[in-house]
Amino acid sequence: MIESVMLWVFALVSAPLFAGIIFKVKAFFGGRRGSPLLINYYTLIKLIKKGSVYSSSTTFVFKLGPVVNLGTIVTALFFLPIAGHAPVLSFNGDAIFVLYLLGLARFFTIAAAMDTASPFEGMGAAREAYFPIICEASIFMILILFYRLTGDLTLGAFLSGGQPFGLWQTAGPPLLFVVIALFIILLTENARVPVDDPATHLELTMIHEVMVLDHSGPDLAFIEMGAFLKLFFYSAWIARLILPFELAHPLLNLLLFSAGW
């Protein structure tokens, strides 16, 4: 239990680092030196130190968005088995609960974006509502497969202990597709390259970034932190499936791998 809580804290603390590693790897493949590894921590601190400018058309919904967003993903991490250890909390059906928590986060992000009355953010919100329709359907298909294999609907039963290794032995080929599907879902949900590019600043091409255009200061820090944790959530999931061995932290390997994209 204490181990699980410590791992949860580890997830909260290290998530920006993993996103930093992605930056670094991207820069490496782009032939650049790239930003320092701890760049995301600097960004968070910088944002927290700042004040905010609010649009005069926004209401409390706009301010609530980032808080709820971060709150849901922090709660979702309670149910995630990190690096093979049992999650802090677990009950039958928690996989669905967690997915709906993430859905709640999405709802509030969209609501906050719509609250600004900006057409750009409306476009981003429309895309944010559209892509997850496809993603959620595939995630639920994956959950159905896992349920058929394990007879359980908890993330703990899928990903903790030696379970992923057993899954590979009983259903290797489908699991290969699950990993591929999950990877595509990761890219979509976290607004990464082929779907979205967090680096562009052309509103018309963005999904997630365009929705947070009007956020600033600590609010933006909350959103960034939420995005890092969400990336951590999905990559921890895939990492366990790719490397089902009892290593200390297979997460590192995965994030390097995912960044090469």
Binding site: S55, V67, L101, P218
Partner: protein, 165 residues
Amino acid sequence: MFLAIKAVAALGLDYGRIPFEPFAHYSAAITLGATLFLAATLLLLALRRMFYQGKPIGHGGTWGCGFTQPTARMQYTGSSYAASILAFFRPAAPLEEIHPPVAGLFPRETHYHSHVHDIVERHLNCLVVVPIVRLFDRLRWIQHGDIHLYIGYILLAIVVLLFFV
């Protein structure tokens, strides 16, 4: 609520076949999760308040890339929001767009109108309602207005029922 269910179950009215226990566990677990989420959110709200202590908070227009004087006609509407989703679900939600192509270098005026048809409304009418109405039109002769024959129907019905009941 579960106390009440247990009390009713104790009466032995054969309601015990419905397994309430798992549902009780689920709802308890979901409540726990929701409480956690609420606690996390409240904590973050407190943290946010702390971060904003003594900070300058400005107000301005929505950032709009030079889009400074929008009117209600230029807004991003509900149908624009739904457009991409509707395009994906086109087979289930047929979209009709009325939009005459613009002609000439300086087109005078044009209009755009879109309407999403209800697929049920559309097909229910031609596949279910019309055939049934036609069928009953054909059977109109049964309802002729002759009271004696109506009594005959009742008698016939009773005789037929005698065979079955």
